[in-house]
């Protein structure tokens, strides 16, 4: 397409990796002045990373960045700001302890001196009135007292507000996730008006209807690349979903897992209803089954795992969990490893009862257990007494698996445990999971990678904290999961 409009942003071959994870793998992205571009893709497709590169928050490993007609060799947040790039992030960037007006002042250094509070308040209030008539926000309100939806409105209005430097590009990352349908429509109407007035917009959204209706052009990302970019009217929902998921030949299933008979033949070990489930669907897991929790990230999968964990120790009316549980954390550094401890300590901490010898713990028994698991799952270390942090990320994760598997737990709760783990380790762990399932252990496996779901016997797809679909083993492919994750979203 020959763009008649002047190009504002041109990215060529942008690459960025975090350890073993290639977040951007040669992405090309361009944006014209006065154009609204929609960016869609599944979790981990690289959308957010690309936007962070665009606003200067992330420095790419490789790639050419041309912004406003000049190649940017030292692209930083400050430079992006100076060129009029504004962002509305998924994680709100307001200061909760300040008032709405004071928050406006934070991004407008030009507002200072006598009467600055009145001017900042006027600026943000005018913009709020323009975008969200009837918003009900006062400039003197503390942000921490506002509802999440109103905070989002303030954040959006702030990005569009203008003091000295004009806004040339506003990046909206999931702006409607906490807005109701009415305010979301107000926002999209404002986006269209701004675009007509010459401001460029980038809209990232999981709500495909919004993207199709509000954008001039749509860019589809997958695996850190832009796989398809075209004018919006050439797309429809089916084509978007197809492009996001990729229609690929079904890969032969990894070798046979434990055969699962019809329900009822095996014992149900977990049965509970997600808290926000409106209908009467239930989450059920059988003995020896690997159950996947799928859907977009953060739509209630972790909550379900935590609810299961809680129900195992304090029985509740709404949940039955009939065996001991162990959790394998996904965020290793914050929820998983004890950073000051040795590998052996880290593996043994869930099984202290086994090490009891009189009133004390026996270090010999702990070493024995740790060494046995080191052999079994091939933790690459010469000595289990080394600090856990001496291991690579993948091996730390193996140690966490060993902690759970070495324990007396019969139900394993896995909270996206393969985040940032290299491919070889993943394959080893998959084998281990299948072997343990064959011995009757149950796995509840939350994963954001559709590829991993193929190791599961069944999967539940979550949206907004509730189960929206249950997929049988032969339905577990990317298209189905994406379809279920988005189905029915206006």
């Amino acid at each position: 397409m020959g763009d008649a409009r002047a190009s504002l942003v041109d990215f060529v071959g942008v690459e960025k990796s975090y350890g073993a994870v290639q977040a951007l793998d040669g992405a090309d992205f361009s944006l014209g002045a006065g154009e609204c571009v929609g960016v869609v893709g599944h979790n981990g497709a690289g959308k957010s990373t690309l936007m962070h590169v665009l606003n200067g928050g992330v420095t790419p490993d490789r790639g050419r960045l041309v912004v406003a007609g000049a190649e940017q060799l030292h692209w930083t947040s400050a430079r992006a700001q100076a060129l009029g790039l504004r962002c509305v992030f998924q994680e709100l960037s307001l200061c909760p302890n300040l008032t709405v007006a004071e928050n406006a002042r934070v991004v407008h250094p030009a507002i200072y001196g006598f009467g600055w509070r009145r001017r900042a308040g006027r600026l943000i209030l005018d913009k709020l009135d323009e975008i969200f008539p009837g918003h009900g926000v006062r400039p003197g309100d503390l942000v921490q007292d506002l509802t999440i939806g109103r905070r989002q409105m303030v954040e959006i209005a702030r990005a569009f507000s203008v003091s000295d430097a004009a806004a040339r590009l506003v990046i909206l990352d999931e702006p409607t996730s906490s807005l109701d349908a009415h305010t979301a429509a107000q926002l999209l109407a404002h986006v269209r008006r701004s675009v007509e007035a010459g401001v460029s917009c980038v809209l990232i959204s999981h709500i495909l209807g919004e993207v199709l209706s509000a954008c001039d052009r749509i860019v589809v990302m997958r695996d850190g690349k832009v796989v398809l970019a075209d004018v919006a009217r050439n797309f429809d929902r089916a084509k978007l979903v197809g492009a996001m998921g990729g229609i690929e030949p079904e890969s032969p299933r990894a070798q046979g897992a434990a055969a699962i008979g019809a329900r009822g033949e095996t014992r149900v070990v977990v049965r509970l209803r997600p808290e926000r489930q409106a209908d009467d669907r239930e989450f059920v897991a059988l003995e020896g089954e690997i159950v996947g929790l799928a859907g977009l990230a953060g739509h209630g999968q972790t909550d379900l795992l935590l609810a299961t964990f809680a129900a195992a120790s304090h029985s509740r009316a709404t949940a039955t969990v009939s065996a001991p549980v162990a959790l394998v954390a996904g965020d290793r550094q914050s929820d998983g490893v004890f950073p000051g401890w040795s590998i052996a300590n880290n593996i043994g901490v869930r099984s202290l009862k086994k090490f009891r010898s009189g009133p004390l713990l026996s270090g010999r028994l702990e070493d024995k257990l740790a060494n046995a698991w080191r052999e079994r799952i091939k933790i690459r270390t010469p000595d289990v007494h080394s600090n856990i942090l001496s291991l690579s990320g993948g091996n730390q994760q193996k140690a966490l698996f060993a902690r759970a598997l070495a324990s007396d737990a019969r139900i394993m709760l896995m909270d996206d445990p393969m985040r940032g783990v290299d491919f070889g380790t993943k394959l080893e762990v998959y084998d281990l999971i299948r072997a343990e399932a064959a011995r009757g252990r149950t796995f509840l496996w939350y994963t954001t990678e559709v590829e991993e779901l193929k190791n599961c016997d069944r999967a539940y797809v979550f949206r907004n904290g509730a189960i929206v679909a249950e997929l049988a083993r032969d339905e577990l492919n990317e298209e189905q999961v994406i379809h279920s994750s988005f189905a029915g979203v206006a």
Partner: protein
């Protein structure tokens, strides 16, 4: 339908009322302490009575203000007490005998505070550890300077602290001035908003292009300035100094900030509340307990109990506020 739509709009008037109640809590607890004193000993409620009871409130209020600036940036200053003691020693010796050296030393102290802020920010060190270390440094310096209690405050300092304004006792005038300066400086200036924002959401401030280093250094320098003022006010009241004179101020200042509605994290502080908190601590510390005929041996413990009760009341009000 999104999540926001599912949450009913908070009961505006109820939330508003609770917020006001919370904001008024520091004033209420001060009023309660004064009412208790008035009931126990009506004669204490007089010009002379307040001057006497609130005498030591001025340095406590200044130290509390210093602590408040540090807490606004999500840090804690465990050295403020011994720092006040050191300033007392400097004021009672060098400032009187060699004013040039004394002034230079005090300015150097403020610069050192700013440097500590820079160190804490740049090396990402826990402020508790750094200031705990500094508390021993200040105490050691104070003992070197004044091994035995003694010295004498400069005459002009004694004169300032001895002012007797008509009708309103001096400590109350001073408290109003301190609260006013803190309020306008931190709550009303445009850079004050950035300073508080650095405690509320540092990442957002950095993204918006502000220097967090500058903010942290400013906050610590302000703490240093108010610490110096606190020490000078204290020595102006006691007329002579002792290396251990300020040791209790560390905890008093933290208690004052929290009593005044501040939070340990999140940049939520209130200068007016902090001064009210300091006054409450000063009144509850000894006049109230003396009037209650609590023997001095038990006063420290009783003081702590008062603190726990007031803070518990605040937590109850706050928690009800967050239950929707």
């Amino acid at each position: 339908m999104s999540v926001a739509a599912a949450v009913p709009p908070a009961n505006a008037s109820g939330a508003e009322w609770r917020r006001r109640l919370r904001a008024a809590l520091p004033a209420l607890s001060l009023a309660l302490v004064i009412a208790a004193i008035a009931w126990l000993n009506p004669r204490a409620i007089s010009y002379f009575g307040f001057t006497l009871m609130l005498n030591l409130a001025i340095p406590i209020a200044l130290a509390t203000m210093a602590q408040m600036f540090v807490i606004a940036g999500n840090d804690l200053d465990l050295s403020i007490g011994t720092f006040v003691g050191f300033v007392c020693c400097v004021a009672a010796t060098w400032l009187r005998d060699e004013p040039g050296l004394g002034v230079l030393t005090l300015i150097g102290c403020v610069a050192l505070y700013a440097a500590l802020g820079a160190l804490i920010y740049l090396r990402n060190l826990p402020s508790i550890v750094v200031t705990l270390g500094m508390s021993f440094v200040w105490q050691g310096l104070a003992i070197l300077l004044l091994p035995k209690p003694g010295g004498k405050a400069p005459g002009w300092l004694l004169a300032i602290m001895g002012v007797k304004p008509p009708f309103i006792p001096f400590p109350i005038v001073a408290a109003v001035v301190i609260a006013g300066v803190g309020y306008f400086g931190l709550m009303r200036t445009s850079y004050g908003a950035i300073l508080r924002a650095s405690g509320g959401n540092a990442l957002a401030i950095e993204r918006a292009g502000w220097s967090l280093l500058r903010a942290k250094m400013t906050l610590f320098a302000l703490a240093g300035i108010f610490g110096v003022l606190s020490g000078m006010a204290l020595v102006g009241i006691t007329t002579s100094a002792d290396a251990n004179i300020g040791n209790g101020y560390t905890l008093l200042s933290i208690a004052g900030v929290i009593l005044g509605g501040g939070e340990f994290v999140g940049g939520s502080v209130s200068p007016i509340g902090a001064v009210l908190g300091a006054l409450t601590m000063a009144m509850a510390a000894s006049p109230l307990l003396t009037f209650m005929h609590i023997p001095p041996d038990w006063q420290v413990a009783a003081n702590g109990a008062i603190l726990i009760i007031v803070l518990a009341a605040r937590v109850v009000i706050t928690r009800k506020g967050s239950d929707r």
